[in-house]
Subunit: 146 residues, 4 copies
Amino acid sequence: MPDIPQKARSFQTQVLVRFADCDPAGIVFYPRYLEMFNGLVEDWFRTELHSSFTEIVTNRGWGLPTVHLEVDFVAPSRFDEMLSATLTVRSLGTSSMGLDIVLLGPDNLHRVRGKVVLVFIDRAAHQAIPWPNDLRARILAFQASG
Amino acid sequence: MPDIPQKARSFQTQVLVRFADCDPAGIVFYPRYLEMFNGLVEDWFRTELHSSFTEIVTNRGWGLPTVHLEVDFVAPSRFDEMLSATLTVRSLGTSSMGLDIVLLGPDNLHRVRGKVVLVFIDRAAHQAIPWPNDLRARILAFQASG
Amino acid sequence: MPDIPQKARSFQTQVLVRFADCDPAGIVFYPRYLEMFNGLVEDWFRTELHSSFTEIVTNRGWGLPTVHLEVDFVAPSRFDEMLSATLTVRSLGTSSMGLDIVLLGPDNLHRVRGKVVLVFIDRAAHQAIPWPNDLRARILAFQASG
Amino acid sequence: MPDIPQKARSFQTQVLVRFADCDPAGIVFYPRYLEMFNGLVEDWFRTELHSSFTEIVTNRGWGLPTVHLEVDFVAPSRFDEMLSATLTVRSLGTSSMGLDIVLLGPDNLHRVRGKVVLVFIDRAAHQAIPWPNDLRARILAFQASG
């Protein structure tokens, strides 16, 4: 019996485009999309991975820097628009992970598609460290299996 | 006799890391690097291409959205550090261009390496339009030839 | 019979402190509180005054610049904290209004207290114009009477 | 012989309005003026007070939070405009100081006038501490005497 590819569990949320996010051309200033990406990862950690950034960065002395980024800005977004954000895990290494992030407009069309690579580090040493086992297990639930 | 690859003319400037750019981990919050990229492109247009963003966006009704981005965040930057930014033209199409951007730390090591694709548009129509001839000529001076 | 002071109707919402809002000292970078103020005014207009910023700024050519600001930063806020924001109307002029904004921490203590004055303008002329009657009526519902 | 009021020594610098600073109305989004204020204070500390924010915040464990703010946004600024910023010391307490900040447009007219109160703190204790003597002496040079 063939393997049935399992659909990845995804993390989804809504992001309202703020006046503060928009530039004189009336559309989202692209660095602000990356703030949205960061907010999405924060929300995912807090609500699904039971591990807030406060816990990670402030209390534990760990860090989670973004080391690589690839983004397609497919279509512009305007303020007051509610975007739908979806995050899935593309790959999980010893101390890194690759995420796919998609932002859709209210028209359900792609606005932004991104690939982000984050690395789990010890901040004092600024060195990659392995994911803690419980965190790794929770992240895996969001990865597609083939 | 073989072609001798010509070195691209590059645009260089300095960027001071501000308190405002840094996150609770004490390093540049990565979306702020993209603001630096945008500032670098602005400075290049104003000082070398004789074509300010005001002229382009406000007076002419054109736009210059970033449509694609690839960035490696190689090493963290801390506030009060002066970064050296270098911009070169990788490719120039009918209405797009690919830029290479590198930010070096005071230690001369790579902090951030990015590839950015910008498209020249008519904002009202939100449609790509060809580079004006004079602007194209000035951009070409910053492109390496093989 | 004495006038009985009526309690002002207030607009209340929650604001999550983001990693993006915090500085290397680990607390909210104060200009980001002002972004929260702006977001609060946006939310109030959209949900209670039936008049989105898109409608006002993009479609009608009006504007709502902040012309005066007084803020006390009473105590620091840290990231992942959920702040409670409250907005009331202190005064309503022909084309201006004064707002009181308070941000409370999860401990119910004051973090930030602000007074903001906004002016309703025609953007092309950059000149104050009277509030439209329907908007004025809806704003008045949020003002305390003596 | 009467006391002749001495003119305060002021700190002056230039601030370019960036695309990133502007909103869909095409003018500086007011929270970004406060980033400019913060940058101005940083520059003053680094260049005139011989005491960088890195030294203060990162190395010494001190802090310099803004606790009070009063700002008049007199006229809008547009991007690509070069603003002239001037900072003077209005008052100097045991562990606080009051600054006056003015931003002028290229037309030499007031764009923004602000009063800022900063407090010198020990960050771990989050408690006000007296200015170090050398720093106090250097700040005093920027205060008007009557």
